[in-house]
């Protein structure tokens, strides 16, 4: 790891810009946020990822000031923000619906927050022009929100929330209303703008691909709790729980009992009459502990012959083939009844498939391909 890499969370000296300390939010009987502690650092692009109802939106609305925590404190740059009303916070939000004022033009929408600051007129002009340039909206300044396309509206909302130089920008499902292609383009645009402005971004999303693409760190949430906070690659390769492994991407789960077998290495007994699987996994487990092997489909190879030097190999029968163009996914049933998915890249045009339905094949993977997760 080089020193130039942006990883303030690994630096014990760094102070988080936002600090949630044992924050709980209850609505009557319902606990939306459950004793949550996290730190978000300056210039970070932080993604809150989780299914709907997991509390990610509540978390964001507490940052914006529309909700107050029932317990605990939220600090922004060291200062407790609970008593600060939303209109006095150096935090701006980009709304899921964009919330563009329909009676105002694009220009007036972007200038709206600046006018509230009583900024001198020519400064407002300069700042709005700058934002219009940044978001490539110069041509649309005088249009009303209903006179521009969905993608343009999204950029107006971004420009409006960035215009006031917020310390922190909150983005609530910012790309949810766009179609898939536009969404992918806009993700890169968003990262670009975040880098250019150096603003701290917190994004709420239920789209894992989006979170993985844009974020420096991803926080996976469930039922008001943070399950794991890590960089996208660590979240994917080293999930800390079955929940995270299952939520992010596709995964095969094989249940069994672990038996330590050298440093970080375990033998997983998964079914009687079958050789135990060899797994190298960073999560410590005790002898005989019940756990699951989580392994991504693309890390499982498929072959007709038993591979010679594989750490693990099992035989099964192809039940289903999903052809996705760039990839093919094989659903293979092991004699034990377990279903394993194996994915191969279609790097050549297929004139004839090597394997087809009902074929008996071998699945194999290395010891480091998967991780063991305690139940």
């Amino acid at each position: 790891m080089t020193a130039s890499e942006f990883e303030p969370w690994n630096d014990p000296e760094a102070k988080p810009l936002i600090h949630f300390q044992n924050v709980t939010k209850r609505y009557g009987e319902f606990t939306a946020i459950d004793d949550l502690t996290i730190g978000i650092y300056e210039k970070e692009f932080y993604a809150l990822l989780g299914p709907s109802g997991c509390g990610k939106t509540t978390l964001m609305r507490m940052l914006a000031g529309f909700e107050t925590p029932s317990e605990g404190t939220i600090r922004l740059a060291g200062q407790d923000i609970a008593p600060v009303p939303p209109n006095k916070r150096a935090v701006n939000m980009m709304f899921q619906s964009y919330a563009l004022f329909p009676h105002l033009s694009v220009w007036e929408n972007i200038a709206f927050g600046l006018k509230r600051e009583k900024m001198p007129k020519h400064d407002i002009n300069d700042r709005v022009d700058e934002m219009l340039r940044l978001t490539r909206l110069e041509k649309f300044a005088r249009r009303k929100p209903h006179q521009i396309s969905g993608g343009q509206r999204q950029r107006v909302a971004l420009a409006r929330s960035l215009a006031k130089h917020p310390k922190l920008l909150l983005l609530d499902e910012p790309l949810g209303a766009l179609d898939k292609k536009l969404r992918q383009e806009t993700q890169f645009e968003l990262m670009d703008i975040q880098e250019k402005t150096g603003t701290t971004f917190v994004i709420v999303t239920h789209d894992q691909e989006e979170a993985m693409t844009v974020a420096s760190r991803v926080a996976v949430m469930d039922h008001g709790k943070i399950i794991q906070v890590a960089t996208p690659d660590r979240i994917y390769e080293n999930p800390n729980s079955v929940y995270v492994a299952d939520f992010i991407g596709d995964v095969n789960l094989i249940a069994g009992t672990a038996k330590p077998n050298g440093s970080d290495t375990y033998a997983l007994s998964w079914h009687e009459g079958h050789a135990p699987l060899t797994v190298q996994s960073p999560n410590p487990l005790s002898d005989g502990q019940n756990c699951q092997l989580a392994i991504r489909p693309e890390k499982v190879s498929i072959s007709t012959e038993k591979p010679e030097q594989a750490d693990n190999a099992v035989q099964g029968r192809i039940l289903d083939i999903a052809y996705l163009g760039n990839l093919s996914t094989y659903h293979v049933e092991l004699p034990t009844g377990t279903m394993i998915k194996a994915q191969t890249a279609n790097t050549r045009r297929i004139a004839r498939r090597a394997y087809t339905w009902e074929d008996t094949v071998w699945l194999s993977w290395t010891a480091t391909a998967g991780v063991l997760l305690a139940n």
């Binding site: 914006a64 000031g65 529309f66 009303p85 939303p86 209109n87 006095k88 935090v91 701006n92 939000m93 709304f95 899921q96 619906s97 919330a99 004022f101 329909p102 009676h103 709206f112 927050g113 509230r116 600051e117 249009r143 009303k144 209903h146 006179q147 521009i148 396309s149 969905g150 343009q152 409006r160 929330s161 006031k164």
Partner: protein, 271 residues
């Protein structure tokens, strides 16, 4: 599917004939020469002339307009506040009572509303006149305004207000700069409804007016009780024309705006 079945065509024709023929007859016979309303005796506008000479009617019309302007304006302010608090306000003491009082006048028979207000005015020794009619009309029409405005507020995207707060508005500024301009059409139609209700009201005005103030409906009612008269036909024609022109203009303007907005939205998606 585009052509209507004969059954539907017949129902529409008969239905609208039933709704409009009485008014058309009324209008035609306002131009009748004869005093007898039911016998045509040639075209004349003399009843309009006589109406313009009739001091009592003109005074009553003036009182009615004054009452309607004042009561609908106060009712719009109060009704909008009430709607805003009902839709947004969350909980407050006696919320159930308040919502009950907002909706009850809508279904309360006018005779009861009129009677109860009269007894109140007598009880507190308030002389009956323009003021008491304004108070009475404001009370029932603010409920209509609040229903109209709150039905708009229910569909109002709340994140617009939150966005305004987020961008530095105080709650009052957010209401003035964002909420009010957007719900303005509903507030205006609330005002128009309150204005029309006040113009039309006979029963409540009869209870709450005094000898010093007679409204047009009271005047018309006492004249009509004696039978049909061409002067009333002329007056009715004027009132129907004003309403018709108003409603048609309003609907044309809305239609025009809606088609323009639709066109612009389609154009925007193509770019």
């Amino acid at each position: 599917m585009n052509r209507m079945s004969w059954f539907n065509a017949v129902s529409l024709t008969l239905g609208f004939a039933f709704l409009y023929i009485p008014m058309v007859i009324l209008i035609i016979f306002s131009f009748n020469e004869s005093k007898l309303v039911t016998v045509w005796a040639g075209f004349s506008t003399k009843w309009y002339g006589e109406l313009m000479q009739n001091e009592a009617f003109l005074n009553a019309a003036w009182v009615t307009i004054k009452v309607a302007v004042f009561s609908s304006t106060i009712a719009t302010v109060l009704g909008t506040i009430a709607a805003y608090v009902m839709v947004r306000g969350g909980r407050f003491m006696g919320r159930t009572l308040f919502s009950g009082m907002i909706y009850a006048p809508l279904v309360m028979p006018e005779v009861i509303t009129g009677l109860s207000l009269l007894l109140l005015f007598i009880g507190i020794g308030l002389d009956r006149g323009v003021l008491t009619i304004v108070l009475a009309h404001t009370t029932f029409s603010m409920c209509y305004v609040s229903v109209v405005v709150s039905s708009r507020l229910v569909t109002f995207d709340r994140s617009l207000e939150e966005a305004a707060l987020d961008l530095g508005c105080s709650p009052a500024e957010a209401f003035r700069l964002v909420t009010l301009p957007i719900i303005a059409p509903a507030v205006i139609s609330g005002w128009l409804l309150a204005f029309t209700l006040s113009l039309d009201d006979l029963v409540i005005a009869s209870f709450t007016s005094g000898p010093s103030a007679t409204t047009l409906p009271i005047k018309i009612f006492s004249a009509v009780r004696l039978g049909v008269s061409p002067e009333i036909n002329a007056l009715s024609t004027i009132m129907i024309s004003i309403v018709t022109v108003g409603v048609i203009t309003a609907s044309l303007v809305t239609k025009h705006q809606m088609t323009r907005q639709k066109r612009e939205e389609q154009a925007a998606e193509r770019t």
